[in-house]
Structure formats: structure tokens, C-alpha cells
């Protein structure tokens, strides 16, 4: 799978609610990060995030979604990533980085939320496969008052 195909595949797993398969795309030290200042936030700056999760916390999220007592999933949330073509910003045999502008729609019941932004993937080769060391989601409006975002932009 090429890096660009990996990015498309990753989004598809989320849209199809295949969360366990999605988790398996992370490297052991993988991180999912939605910084509060979006693209303007330097890495390592002492600024908060909407989400900043290692594998343990991501597993917690995914396990919770399976629970019948996850009240906020009655009715369940649905999501759709609409991706623009990815651009490789670092291209080496064992690691690469990509930028992918996106629209993200999350809906639940009759309420629909649309978010725009750019995802930055930092991939590493583990064996023959690409794995995510970092998925950074730069939302256009991360700092504004937002309703609940229950799945994964």
C-alpha cells in the first residue's frame, strides 16, 4: 500500500466504524492529536488540545463505543471523511509524512456537524507495512465553541 493509499484506507476504516482495524494502523508509540490552535500550534508548545491520545486512551475510546451503556451513542454517530489528494512532504524508504486537506461530517440523529481541516500523517515502516506514529488533525475552527465530536476527524 502506498502512503497515499494508506491515508485513504485509514479514513475509510473510520467511516465504516471498523475501529479495531483502525487502532491496528498505529505504531506502538502512535499518537492521535487534535491541537487547540490547529495548524498554528507548534509541536511541543504548552497549549492544550481537543484530544491528545496514546494507544491506551485510543483503546479506551474504542472500547467505550462498543458499550451498550455509551448513552451518547443512542442513536449512534456516523462520519464521513471527504479527502483531497494527499501531498507527500517527506518521502523516505522507512518513513514519510503526508498532508491531506479534508472535510469531515459527523452526524447523529438529525444533527449534523461539518468540520474542515488538514490532516498530517507521520508514517513509519513496521516490517513491510506503514504504521501511524502520528495522526495530527488541524481543524480550521478548533478554538471555537464546538458541539460534541464523538468519533475521529
Amino acid at each position: 500500500m502506498s502512503p497515499a493509499e494508506f491515508v485513504a484506507h485509514e479514513a475509510r476504516l473510520l467511516d465504516e466504524r471498523r475501529h479495531d482495524e483502525w487502532l491496528a494502523l498505529f505504531a506502538d508509540d502512535g499518537r492521535y492529536w487534535v491541537p487547540l490552535r490547529g495548524a498554528a500550534q507548534p509541536e511541543g508548545a504548552a497549549i492544550n488540545a481537543l484530544a491528545d491520545e496514546d494507544l491506551l486512551l485510543l483503546k479506551l475510546r474504542v472500547e467505550r463505543l462498543k458499550s451498550a451503556r455509551a448513552h451518547s451513542q443512542h442513536p449512534p454517530s456516523r462520519c464521513q471523511h471527504v479527502l483531497q489528494a494527499s501531498t507527500l512532504t517527506l518521502d523516505e524508504p522507512d518513513r514519510c509524512e503526508l498532508r491531506t486537506p479534508f472535510l469531515y461530517i459527523e452526524s447523529r440523529g438529525e444533527r449534523q456537524l461539518t468540520l474542515a481541516g488538514t490532516t498530517e500523517h507521520r508514517l513509519v515502516k513496521v516490517g513491510r507495512d506503514w504504521r501511524m506514529r502520528l495522526k495530527r488533525v488541524n481543524l480550521l475552527d478548533a478554538g471555537t465553541a464546538l458541539p460534541a465530536i464523538q468519533l475521529f476527524p
Partner: protein, 444 residues
């Protein structure tokens, strides 16, 4: 409901007061657009609302824009170093003087529309082509009086509050001893200073602000509301080796699964005017790892007795009614900003504790991210239920919301009272204050 309210000609104080009974409240308090309009006009004008923190405006000319009681305001540091809260409105046509969230205006405000200028205390400085006003009555009327500074502003240990109306108790009489909760937070700094840092998490919740505020005092909900999050966390943590260091996230999420008995025994205290402290004995925050060198610094700064008092007190939540909830540890505040009967913004702010190790700031940011972010797995279930209440309350002939738990007629005497942590007095007390400040400036 709303229709009925509108049908009565003009709502009088006694009509409003009848909506709050000793042990229950009318659903119109959550549903009625007309009552929300009256809250903006009366209730939020008659109470002391949180505006911002002085550390957000460190230098002269620094400002932040906020909205209180539906009025656009600007909190600014003036040339003398004092904090002013001004109407964010040009006296000429009504343009907002500043529209960014924060910034620095320099030595004066300048309206972008016709270039009227105002000093940092809101006084009119200059009007272009002043001669055209020479023979008019501009300077004798309101439009010649500047932006207008709020007369009732209090800065308590860098927490800035304002009351819009001239009615009601002064700042210290209004808050009384609940201010000790702010002391507990600020005194966690050996030098007695906090700084807002790390950004603010903003949540848009489609519920009435009272649903959110009373939940801050609801210690019975975590077991059922947060079951999915705490069970998932517990199951993951069970798989870890015994000697694994507990990550901060687990340290903060796992205690949400504590049982009814834990929350009941933590204790609560109510104060006059709606304020409260939940967790007077202990709380879900009591078990955070201690930091020895920090404790030593705190003892050196405040003395043994005060330092012990500060460190042993980690209430779940203190509510400075109606707009501010404080956690002494971790150092965070929530600010409730009502937008409509069914729309509320909740802000979660983190503090850097001056003179304390970085781990305290990290705890503050981590807690806000895990529990008060729009992406929080803990908050998702809360928010769903708040929004569910906003819909569900419309059903049926029952006009009332129950607040009966542990009701005791003796509590009607008011004053400061200590109760069990699951006692709904912590909410009844809020509604009694609501009725008082809502009707304070109405026809009886």
C-alpha cells in the same frame, strides 16, 4: 408552557417566584424563551458574574471581549494598571470598538467606523469634526458620555467579576465565605499568583444553562452516566502489570467510577445566594500523586497549618453562582455563558500555578482535555443527557422537575449548611437564589 407565560400580560415577581417550590422547580425554568429573556434582563444583571482573569490582560491596553447577560463587554487594563469592564459599543452608532477575542488597543480605543476615540477607562477622548457638534446637545446626552464603564466590578485575587445592575448585595456580601474556594486555588501558588495559560476549551451544549450548572453539584450521576467510560478505563487498566506507573489520564478518569457511598460521604456545603462546595471532606481529586518539593515550597511560603489546609482540601467543585465553577486541584475553572434558553457555552480554562512545578499545569490541561473537551469521552455522555433533558422535559402533563432528595424543612432557614454529598440541597439552594435575583428588580 411558553405560550401560557406569554399569555399572562406582564410577568410579575410573584409569578416567577411561584415557579420555584421548596422541593421542585417548574420546567419553564429550562424551556421558556420568555424566562430566558427575563434572565438576561434581570437575573444575570443582578448577580455577580465572572468576566475574566487579570492575567489575561497583563499590560495597559490589553483587552478581552466577553458577553455577560447578553451584553457585549470588553475587559481592559487601563493606563493606571486598573481593570475596567466597559460596554463594547461606540456611543455614536453602536459599533463594537473591538471584535477580536483579545488584543491590545494601545493608548485608546478608536472606533473603526467614524474614528471616535475613547480612553482606556471608557471616557470619550475625541470626535472628528467636533465643530459640527458645537451647538448640539450631544455632550448633554448619553451619546456624549463615552463607552460607559460598569460601576460594579470587583477583582478578587485576580478573578474579575461584574454586576451590571445597581441592585443587589455588594461583592463580599454576595459571595461570602465561598471565596475561600478561590483562596484555596490561588494559595496553591507559593507566591499567590495564577496565570491563565494553555488555551481555553469551548463547548457548545444545546441545553439550558441551569441543567449544566446543577450537574456540577450532582454526585449521583457519575455511576450511571459515566459507566461506559469508567468501565472501559478499568478494563484496560486491569491488563497492566502491577508495578506499572499509573498514567495521569488513568489517575484522573478512574475515580469517576467511585460508588454512591463515596460521593455521599464526600460532603457538601451550601452558602447564601446559591453558592456551594461539593467535596468538603474529600473528592475524586484527593488521590493525585503528591509532589514533595512542591509541598515543601508551599509550607515555606504559607506555614505548616495553612499549607496542610490547602493541600488536604481538594473539593470536587465549588460553585460561585451562577457563572463560575472552581476546582482547586487540578487548577481549572469552568465558566458558564448562556446564549439562549436551549443553548449554553461552557469554557474550561487551565492555570499555571506560579512557583509550582510544571506537573500541576500539566494536570490542569490534561484534566480539561479528558473531561471538558468537545472530544471528551467523559463529557459525551453528560452532554447527551443534558440535551436529552432539554427535549424530554416537554413530554407529559408533569410541569415539575424533582429536587426532593434529602429535603429537610429546616433548610429553609438558609445560611451556611453542611450536608451529605448527594443531597439535592446543593441544587435547591441554586434555585432559591435564582428566584431571589430574578425577581429583585421586578414588580412584586
Amino acid at each position: 408552557m411558553d405560550r401560557e407565560l406569554r399569555a399572562r400580560q406582564a410577568l410579575r415577581g410573584r409569578d416567577i417566584a411561584a415557579l420555584v417550590e421548596d422541593d421542585r422547580v417548574h420546567r419553564d425554568l429550562y424551556l421558556s424563551d420568555e424566562l430566558f429573556r427575563l434572565e438576561q434582563q434581570h437575573f444575570f444583571a443582578n448577580t455577580w458574574c465572572y468576566v475574566g482573569h487579570a492575567s489575561q490582560v497583563p499590560a495597559a491596553g490589553d483587552y478581552v471581549t466577553v458577553q455577560v447577560a447578553g451584553r457585549p463587554l470588553v475587559m481592559v487594563r487601563d493606563a493606571d494598571g486598573d481593570i475596567r469592564v466597559l460596554n463594547n459599543r461606540c456611543a455614536h452608532k453602536g459599533t463594537q470598538l473591538v471584535t477580536d477575542e483579545h488584543g491590545n488597543v494601545g493608548r485608546f480605543f478608536r472606533c473603526p467606523y467614524h474614528a471616535w476615540t475613547y480612553r482606556l477607562d471608557g471616557q470619550l477622548q475625541a470626535i472628528p469634526h467636533q465643530e459640527a457638534y458645537a451647538s448640539t446637545r450631544l455632550l448633554q446626552c448619553e451619546s456624549g458620555q463615552g463607552m460607559g464603564a460598569l460601576r460594579h466590578v470587583a477583582v478578587y485575587r485576580d478573578f474579575v467579576f461584574a454586576r451590571i445592575s445597581d441592585a443587589g448585595p455588594d461583592f463580599h456580601a454576595y459571595f461570602g465565605d465561598v471565596l475561600a474556594a478561590i483562596d484555596n486555588l490561588v494559595d496553591r501558588s507559593p507566591v499567590g499568583r495564577l496565570r491563565v495559560d494553555g488555551g481555553v476549551l469551548r463547548n457548545l451544549v444545546h441545553c439550558n444553562w441551569k441543567v449544566y450548572l446543577e450537574n456540577i453539584n450532582d454526585s449521583v450521576h457519575p455511576m450511571s452516566t459515566h459507566e461506559s467510560a469508567t468501565r472501559a478505563a478499568g478494563a484496560l487498566w486491569r491488563d497492566q502489570p502491577d508495578d506499572a506507573p499509573k498514567p495521569m489520564a488513568m489517575e484522573q478518569i478512574l475515580p469517576f467510577g467511585a460508588g454512591h457511598d463515596f460521593f455521599d460521604r464526600m460532603g457538601g456545603r451550601v452558602y447564601p445566594n446559591g453558592h456551594s462546595v461539593l467535596g468538603t471532606h474529600f473528592s475524586i481529586h484527593s488521590g493525585y500523586a503528591q509532589v514533595p518539593e512542591y509541598e515543601a515550597a508551599l509550607r515555606a511560603a504559607h506555614g505548616d497549618t495553612r499549607a496542610t489546609e490547602i493541600l488536604q482540601r481538594s473539593p470536587q467543585n465549588a460553585v460561585c453562582f451562577p457563572s463560575l465553577a472552581v476546582k482547586g486541584s487540578p487548577q481549572t475553572i469552568r465558566v458558564i455563558r448562556p446564549l439562549a434558553a436551549d443553548k449554553t457555552v461552557v469554557e474550561a480554562w487551565s492555570f499555571r500555578v506560579e512557583g509550582a512545578p510544571a506537573v500541576l499545569f500539566e494536570r490542569s490541561m490534561t484534566y480539561n482535555r479528558l473531561v471538558f473537551s468537545p472530544m471528551s469521552v467523559v463529557a459525551h455522555d453528560d452532554v447527551h443527557l443534558f440535551e436529552s433533558i432539554q427535549h424530554g422535559l416537554r413530554a407529559g402533563d408533569n410541569d415539575w422537575v424533582s429536587l426532593h432528595r434529602d429535603f429537610d424543612p429546616a433548610e429553609l432557614a438558609g445560611g451556611v449548611r453542611d450536608v451529605n454529598g448527594t443531597n439535592e440541597l446543593l441544587m435547591r439552594n441554586q434555585f432559591r437564589a435564582w428566584a431571589r435575583f430574578m425577581t429583585l428588580t421586578m414588580e412584586p
